[in-house]
């Protein structure tokens, strides 16, 4: 790897950062959480339960109920009853006020939720505090206002709610994904059965408590915890009208197949393998920050992560030198420490997957680079990783790794990089870095992806539609276009 050794910047090797942990005292966690069905917290059938583990120190957090088919059936029945009798017939402006109230309650309890999110999922407190939790609240606040204005969203059409929505969410942004799913569904007059991921159920159950406190009528939101079998029970339930799923492309395909021949609508937010493209006229320092944010944000557990770096050949040396310097300054460690840049890998299972790809990459002949960083003894950790000398045919270039692993390729011409960037079954997101406006619009038009960040990366907002092309799924979440999956146009 071409790397200048002279005049190398020294980031902090002379001093250690003092620990700056966010206190967890304020957050209360019960020993055991039930299912939230029809406005009540209940045990799962037969008392089945599973534990959630803190991925940064292997400590037990709490037990969660494992919902059976019968439990899911009860939740769907409660949602159907609430849909018919309460939620779909309530004046829309009243519906709006409930959703506004949920937004406010999240804002009031933001710090508690941030701490719990980092404990349960392993993400740095800086991210859960500044991104996950505020965005979750903002999603509710944004969609609340739509509830009584839907006639302006679909000109020329009357709209009806879809009915009962089954929503299955991933472990990478547990509360935020719950908000993405719940807020538009509720605003459009649907009722919901929500299933959080089995490794990160904590903030979803806290959200259920908060929703209960908000006075939302019983059965409008039901939360069932569990693993794949619980999700399958939701997908296969005959009285569910809509499935909204965020997760892997593999599971998304199983769901799409499972609902074939039924009346169920679906929104799928699936995997990605985004190109992040750096031209020689880009502001290189900012681009390097964008590369770092693109792939190491949330340990790379991001479906839209900029995991394929394309650098124009004549600036490769400069970009890689600066990137490697910057990677050396990342602080990997305790998610609750406010200095932490990269937290814990969400689960042992995911760590195994990432390690598998690290091995595959080296066997394929790619050149691996990891900065020297001290990792905690307990928990699941993976240092920020760079693979150079990669090509389009490498598995680490083609397949979603979902970890802090970046592959680097070079290009010479605009057409070449467009071809390479689009040469993937995925199409969720892409990044472009150049100072030339006309080049940006050429690229952003030709990249086949649902979200394109130009001279920025990994930005999200409730007003901004998000979702994929091709095998990255269909349907949009966020913004005006995020309403469509939750209405029938008549």
């Amino acid at each position: 790897m071409a790397q200048k050794t002279e005049n190398k910047l020294d980031f902090g090797s002379k001093w250690e950062y003092a620990a700056a942990p966010e206190s967890a005292d304020h957050a209360s966690i019960m020993d055991e959480y039930g299912l939230y069905i029809n406005g009540k917290f209940v045990k799962a059938e037969g008392g089945k339960k599973f534990a959630s583990i803190n991925p940064s120190n292997d400590q037990h957090i709490a037990y969660f109920a494992e919902a059976s088919d019968n439990d899911v059936d009860k939740a769907v029945k409660a949602a159907r009853k609430a849909y018919k009798e309460v939620w779909s017939v309530m004046p829309a402006k009243e519906r709006a006020k409930y959703i506004f109230r949920i937004a406010r309650l999240i804002q009031e309890r933001a710090r508690e939720f941030a701490v719990l999110e980092s404990m349960d999922g392993g993400k740095p407190i800086r991210e859960s505090r500044d991104i996950d939790i505020p965005l979750a609240a903002n999603h509710f606040f944004y969609y609340a206002g739509w509830a009584d204005k839907l006639e302006y969203a679909f000109p020329g059409k009357k709209i009806e709610p879809v009915g009962v929505a089954g929503q299955i969410i991933p472990w990478n942004f547990p509360l935020l994904m719950a908000a993405w799913k719940l807020a538009p569904a509720l605003a459009c007059g649907n009722t919901v059965v929500l299933k959080p991921a089995e490794t990160t159920p904590l903030t979803a159950m806290k959200l259920a408590e908060l929703i209960h406190d908000s006075g939302l009528p019983a059965g409008v939101v039901n939360v069932v915890t569990g693993a794949g079998a619980t999700g399958a029970a939701i997908v296969n339930h005959p009285d569910v009208d809509k499935i909204a799923f965020t997760g892997s492309t593999g599971v998304g395909k199983i769901i799409q197949k499972a609902i074939a021949g039924t009346h169920k609508k679906a929104t799928l937010e699936l995997g990605g393998k985004a190109a992040n493209i750096i031209f020689d006229d880009a502001p290189i320092d900012q681009a390097v920050e964008g590369i770092i944010n693109g792939i190491f944000f949330n340990q790379g557990h991001v479906c839209c992560a900029g995991s394929r770096l394309f650098v124009q050949e004549n600036v490769k040396d400069e970009v890689l030198r600066k990137l490697i310097d910057r990677m050396g300054s990342l602080i990997v460690g305790d998610p609750l420490d406010k200095n932490t840049d990269v937290g814990a890998i969400n689960s042992k299972e995911q760590l195994n997957t990432i390690n598998k790809y690290l091995k595959i990459g080296q066997e394929e002949g790619a050149e691996i680079y990891q900065p020297k960083c001290s990792l905690p003894n307990k928990g699941n950790w993976c240092p920020p990783t760079l693979f150079c000398e990669t090509s389009q045919s490498h598995r680490i270039v083609q397949e979603e790794i979902f970890g802090p692993v970046l592959t680097v390729q070079t290009f010479r011409t605009v057409d070449e990089v467009i071809d390479k960037a689009n040469n993937t079954p995925f199409g969720l997101s892409a990044g472009v870095w150049t100072d030339k406006g006309s080049k940006i619009f050429n690229l952003t038009t030709k990249l086949r992806a649902g979200v394109v960040w130009a001279n920025t990366y990994n930005k999200f907002d409730p007003t901004s539609p998000f979702g994929g092309y091709k095998e990255s799924g269909f349907g949009r979440e966020g913004g005006l276009h995020g309403l469509l999956p939750y209405v029938n146009l008549v």
């Binding site: 000109p155 074939a260 502001p283 086949r448 649902g450 979200v451 930005k459 901004s464 539609p465 799924g473």
Partner: protein, 290 residues
Amino acid sequence: MSRLEVLKTYKIYIGGQFPRTESGRFYPVELKNGTVTNICLSSRKDLRNAVVAARNAFEGWSSRAAFNRSQILYRIAEMLEGRKAQFVEELVAVGASRAAATKEVEVSIDRCVYFAGWCDKFTQAFGSVNPVPSSHFNFSVHEPTGVVTIIAPESPSLLGLVSCIMPVIAGGNTCVILASENSPHVAVTFAEVLNSSDVPGGVVNILTGKEDELAEHFSSHMDVNATIYCREKHLKRIQENGALNVKRVLNWAKYDWNKQGEDPYLLLETQEVKTTWHPIENIAGAKSGY
């Protein structure tokens, strides 16, 4: 001695060319006057050739100016109007009343005009500039999904065909469409209209044949982005096959094309929403940020 009528050989339409099916197979459709027409029984290979043609045409068609697409769709209407009598005769020949046939052709012409008008308007009507709170310019526009396969309704054979093709190509997609099995003649003749309307080869590809044979391949081809299905028999199988590459599978059997075809939301069903972000230096109180 009376003049012998010249009969037409019915072909399929792939990449702007009129081949017979590569398989050499045919199926007979008898006209009301007793004439038997030998219709191409298209094969999986014909479909694969058509998808290649559609994929090759996609970049050019989708990057045309919307105004240009609009003019080309209007040109289709002009050509169809000029051949109105021929289409009426062909519909009558397979059993329609003259009045019904005339109406169907006229509505089909109007449908082309309707969607011609949408080409350069739907992105304005349904796109958005999104008021994100950070210092970014953020907007969402529609872009075509890609290559779309369509199994047209069995009837109305012309109006159903046109009603499916127009919203798909108005939005910049390219397509492969399977014509009505028992009344395929108008589809073949419509290909001749397309061919003289400045529609680039490969944008619309028209096959004739059996749904039972081709539904599987129309829905399972891995380089197809969406499948529109206007019949009922194979719906579940087509939806299952969609899962192979997360195809958008659209069930359009529910539409009465006489009453429901004029609808921009049909066009949006083969569109993707793309959202673009870019930083803005120093607006309002927000911080500029890369």
